[in-house]
């Protein structure tokens, strides 16, 4: 399915998705509340069948925190990038997708570890790299660490 058709299909499911400019992949900004519903449909609908989540990354856009899902269909060989954003920097949370794609479990733990983004219904949401008692979320732009980060 080409990107135009894909976009049309997804707009059917989530009408208020917005396309973002990206030369490589079709990128859609999805409202956080609809994410899980959309993800289930992406995985299970036969002509979409996005069965491979090949990257899940958190991004700190300054004001907003975002999670970006790179999806691929191993059957139809098409790609899509989903993006969810939140303005809540104190207690950001999204729905987990690790019940749909098992690989998300570790990636979401990493995102939680580095950005403090919580994933609802995640089976084992703990810090994965850092100590449990680590203060702050290192990959956020406002993270300060006088000891370990040397400013040139």
């Amino acid at each position: 399915m080409d990107n135009t058709n894909l976009k049309a299909r997804i707009l059917e499911i989530v009408p208020d998705a917005q396309q973002e400019e990206n030369k490589q992949y079709l990128t859609l900004l999805v409202p956080a509340a609809k994410l899980h519903e959309l993800a289930v449909k992406l995985k299970t609908t036969a002509d979409l069948s996005f069965d491979f989540l090949f990257c899940l990354s958190g991004v700190d856009y300054g004001k907003q925190l975002a999670v970006i899902y790179h999806l691929n269909s191993t059957r139809h060989k098409h790609y899509i990038v989903l993006k969810v954003k939140t303005d809540d920097r104190v207690n950001p949370n999204f729905d987990t997708v690790c019940d749909i794609w098992r690989t998300a479990e570790f990636h979401e733990r990493e995102t939680y570890d580095m950005f403090g983004i919580r994933f609802n219904n995640h089976p084992d949401l703990r810090r994965i790299f850092l100590d449990e008692d680590w203060k702050g979320y290192p990959l956020r732009k406002d993270y300060v660490d006088e000891v370990n980060i040397v400013e040139f």
């Binding site: 490589q24 790179h70 990959l139």
Partner: protein
């Protein structure tokens, strides 16, 4: 650390007890800690604890310019450093829409395949060692030495080369390069027969690996198990075929697929991939075209604002580089989707109800590199 204090207490009625494999354990190949719940010798549950060598490469990248990032990627998956470099360079070139000279593409592809061979050699060595055949370790390292020598002559380093740079490579290949690669191919084709004799056909090895760690294709896709481990589950996930980069669209090679879905098939995929890699090198090595070894780049590389993603096939699976650029000379956010990290997530699933010895075999067959997990 709080976790260590709050170790789950063994309940006598469940007859389960916990052992810590790692962070210092011979078969975790580094500082990975596996908290294993055992019932007798049967693994009931397994929790990986990583981060013992987390260096914050993604955070460091936000301070570095794109050429400077290259040397950090070396240190993620140190066994496929060329491929890691290559991924970042491809991303920068794609974002800047630079066409690199054909010579560079040849050199990079040959280097990538040499990387794959040496990585699989070391994997073979350590897999043999995991299963108790210590001799394998020395045979693997012995043959790997030849590739390291070839690299040392051309790039100046044996292990962490930082040979690629955006637009090309750091310096031209050494005049001896082609000759030495030929010698290597000739020698290794003989030596790999030893590998097959000593491990592949061995009855003990077959028993230890066949039917151990079954991973169905659906699970492999869902867990995102790419690379030789995924292809051992019959999942055609070779980025060199699905999204060809550099010279891969122009060379002929087979994507190795096995259908047994166990540790043995993952083993056989890697063994056959070494042959395929040699095949690719043979097609390229004599035809390296003359030309520049690097495209002309601006002194300061600034990526136009936007988001970029580049996938390459590293020795362990799919390596993804995701960059959010705000137009500065440093990336705004850089994310590495490393293969070992995702491959680690399936270890629990695979080793349930297997024995400790099987856990070691499964871990070996997934070919985990700990710095690649921790970044």
């Amino acid at each position: 650390m709080k976790e260590i204090v709050n170790l789950p207490v063994s309940k006598p009625e469940e007859e389960e007890y916990h052992i810590n494999m790692g962070p210092q354990h011979p078969s975790t190949h580094g500082v990975l800690r596996l908290l294993v719940s055992l019932q007798g010798e049967i693994v009931k549950n397994l929790k990986p604890h990583c981060g013992y060598i987390h260096r914050g490469i993604e955070k460091m990248c936000e301070k570095d310019t794109y050429p400077q990032i290259i040397h950090l990627t070396d240190r993620m998956d140190y066994l496929s450093s060329h491929i890691n470099n290559h991924a970042v360079c491809l991303l920068v070139e794609k974002a800047l829409e630079i066409e690199v000279p054909e010579r560079v593409q040849y050199i990079r592809t040959i280097m990538d395949e040499l990387t794959r061979i040496q990585s699989h050699q070391l994997w073979w060595a350590s897999f043999g060692m995991d299963l108790g055949g210590l001799t394998c370790f020395f045979y693997g390292l012995r043959d790997r030495e030849m590739i390291l020598d070839i690299w040392e002559e051309t790039t100046g380093s044996r292990f962490l080369q930082s040979y690629n740079c955006p637009g090309g490579v750091m310096q031209d290949i050494h005049p001896n390069f082609q000759k030495k690669v030929h010698v290597f191919l000739k020698t290794f084709k003989k030596k790999i027969k030893d590998y097959e004799k000593i491990l592949s056909g061995n009855v003990i090895f077959e028993q230890r690996s066949k039917g151990v760690g079954m991973l169905t294709k659906e699970d492999a896709i869902s867990y995102g198990i790419t690379g030789p481990s995924g292809r051992g589950s019959a999942w055609s996930c070779d980025i060199r075929k699905t999204e060809p980069y550099s010279m891969y669209s122009k060379v002929h090679f087979n994507e190795v697929l096995r259908y047994e879905c166990d540790s043995y098939s993952r083993y056989m995929v890697r063994m056959q991939e070494m042959y395929e890699s040699m095949n690719i090198i043979e097609q390229l090595i004599d035809n390296i075209p003359a030309g520049d070894y690097a495209a002309r780049m601006k002194a300061v590389i600034k990526l136009p604002a936007g988001e970029y993603y580049q996938r390459v096939e590293s020795a362990r699976g799919e390596l993804g580089v995701y960059v959010v650029s705000d137009g500065n000379k440093t990336p705004y956010r850089m994310k590495f989707r490393t293969p070992s990290f995702t491959n680690l997530s399936v270890l629990d699933h695979l080793s349930r109800d297997m024995k400790i010895a099987d856990l070691v075999a499964i871990g070996g067959s997934l070919d985990l590199v700990i710095p690649d997990i921790d970044r």
